[in-house]
Amino acid sequence: MRKGASWFNVTSLVLGFAFLYLPIVLLVIYSFNESRLVTVWGGFSTKWYVELLSNQQLLDAAWVTVRVAFFSATLATALGTLAAIVLARSGRFVGRTLFSGMVYAPLVMPEVILGLSLLLLFVAVDQARGFWTIMIAHTTFAMCYVAVVVQSRLAGFDRALEEAAQDLGCPPLRTFFSVTLPIILPGVIAGWMLAFTLSLDDLVIASFTTGPEATTLPMKIYSQVRLGVTPEINAVCTILVGLVTVIVVTASIVTKRQEVLKERDMRQAEAQA
């Protein structure tokens, strides 16, 4: 019975991952296609990548996107980490239910609603739309993802460490920076990266909250995709996919290695004690 079950498990994993990865792999392969007809293979070529370099509009859009993503991820990480600490540590306070509701709701809220509501807010306060309004919008929804990621890290955290530091007279702010932050750091970094890629990807919220002078890469890609599949877009997508893969894989290797090192230190400390 065990053998049969594991055969079933292997099959479902193979099929599942094939389903998840095949479309992306095909997209990457066809970005190296010589032919302009995207679905007919005409030989290997990197010419679409070379052409991208001369597409100034696309490069401008990419630069706007990266800046928005950097600023919003940084701000979202600061706010989201605070929110996570509040949720995990502050016990009960007036309006806690509302607070946790506001943290979880944006995770599932349809993007069209978030985008529309933020746009109408910016119009109501007569704020000119562009770079900064996209940044604020992205910060708002990304901070909730950061809060959830950091909170899961805080949940498995030995509170006695903080209490020990405070009992020894360490002021709260210093306790945070020298005890709490180093322990939750992997969560905070993961949160920042998640916020960065969420902002990099977003089309709907950016389309609502942008102004005439700020066009992000997804908006540019979207307007071209509506006209049909082109090898240039395949090439842009391949670069983005490659970038994200490198970031995520590196980050996970780094955190894993840190954990291994920490475990080794702990074991040594125990052996000495």
Binding site: M1, G4, N9, V10, S12, L13, G16, F17, F19, L20, Y21, P23, L27, Y30, V38, T39, G80, A83, I85, S90, G91, F93, G95, G101, M102, Y104, A105, V108, M109, P110, V112, I113, L116, S117, L118, L120, L121, T140, M143, G156, E163, P172, L173, L194, T197, D201, V204, I221, Y222, V225, R226, V229, I233, C237, V241, V244, T245, V248, V249, K256
Partner: protein
């Protein structure tokens, strides 16, 4: 955690020899800690909904901004009173009169529910297989599920256009094998929308389900097997009920955003694919009717409020349990 548990924690905390120190008075810094994220979310998440509601009661106008009345506090209180007097439910009445809107809502919920079910059927074996895989593989498998989730949504939807087109890769493959002799029309139909939603949201369902199944005590399954329970029955009477929290969390994470989805029906769906996110988008960007699109958003929010609250309660419970 149930309320009984919570009171028992409170009573131990009131006792004398407990490991937890007595609650310190919240300092000014402590309040600031709460105030910063709280204020941000109130200003940029909660307040905008009231503005959406207000504008849904306004009427369209050829002006900047394109609706009337506008409230200008600088012109005094009477201006506000006049503006409130001019509010009307006209946009909501309009939503009930034109077939397009209620048909869009209905078809969105139907498409989202069907795709959630398909995602569950595909995602459950994947999550189960991951949870039962050898321990040293699990981190890698988890990584493989998370990676597409980090890759752009737009790119993943776009990838399917090249596959599903009439002269696309799927049709080429099927024609070559000889299963069909006419290319199938999949792109720009509801089937393509189902494929797109299932594909894009699959990691959202697999992740919570995997987290849940991994913790499942395998000795329960072995005990059932030893007592002669056939595997399929063990699965239905033990595994499924115990993984219910993971199933529910995953389904909410797929269903709620899918109802308001815009990119997938717009790029993969056809002109007859009705989804409310697309209707709202057209109303706003093409017709430039801000009041009607606000009313569409308010109703969408009302439809989603029940699943959202259920999802939050579930998250809250999971969080309390983990602490």
């Amino acid at each position: 955690m149930t309320s009984v548990d919570r009171t028992s924690v409170a009573t131990t905390a009131a006792g004398s020899d407990i490991p937890r120190p007595p609650r310190r008075r919240r300092s000014a810094g402590g309040w600031l800690l709460i105030a910063l994220p709280y204020a941000w979310l109130i200003v940029f998440f909660l307040a905008p909904f009231f503005i959406v509601f207000k504008i849904s009661l306004s009427e369209i106008a050829v002006a900047i901004p394109p609706y009337l009345p506008t409230i200008d506090l600088a012109e005094g209180w009477s201006n506000v009173v006049d503006a409130v007097g001019a509010f009307s439910l006209e946009n909501y009445i309009w939503l009930t009169q034109d077939d397009l809107y209620w048909k869009s809502y209905l078809s969105s919920v139907k498409i989202a529910a069907t795709s959630t079910l398909i995602t569950l059927i595909i995602g459950y074996p994947i999550a189960y297989g991951m949870a039962r895989a050898p321990r040293e593989w699990r981190a890698t498998l988890l990584m493989l599920v998370i990676l597409p989730f980090w890759t752009s949504f737009l790119i993943r939807v776009y990838a399917w256009i090249g596959i599903l087109k009439n002269e696309g890769l799927l049709n080429q493959a099927l024609l070559w094998i000889g299963v069909i002799d006419q290319p199938l029309t999949i792109l720009n139909t509801n089937i393509a929308v189902y494929i797109g939603i299932v594909y894009s949201y699959l990691p959202f369902l697999v992740l919570p389900l995997y987290a849940n199944l991994e913790k499942l005590d395998i000795s329960l399954l072995e005990a059932a097997g030893d007592l002669g329970c056939p595997p399929w029955r063990t699965f239905w009477t033990i595994t499924v009920p115990l993984s219910m929290p993971g199933i529910i969390a995953g389904c909410f994470l797929v269903f709620i955003p899918a109802v308001g989805e815009f990119v997938i029906p717009d790029l993969l769906g056809g002109s007859d694919t009705l989804m409310i996110g697309k209707t709202l988008w057209t109303e706003f960007f093409t017709n430039r009717d801000w009041p009607v699109s606000s009313a569409v958003a308010v109703i969408l929010l009302l439809i989603l409020v029940v699943p959202i609250v259920l999802f939050q309660n579930q998250q809250q419970k999971a969080m309390e349990k983990s602490q």
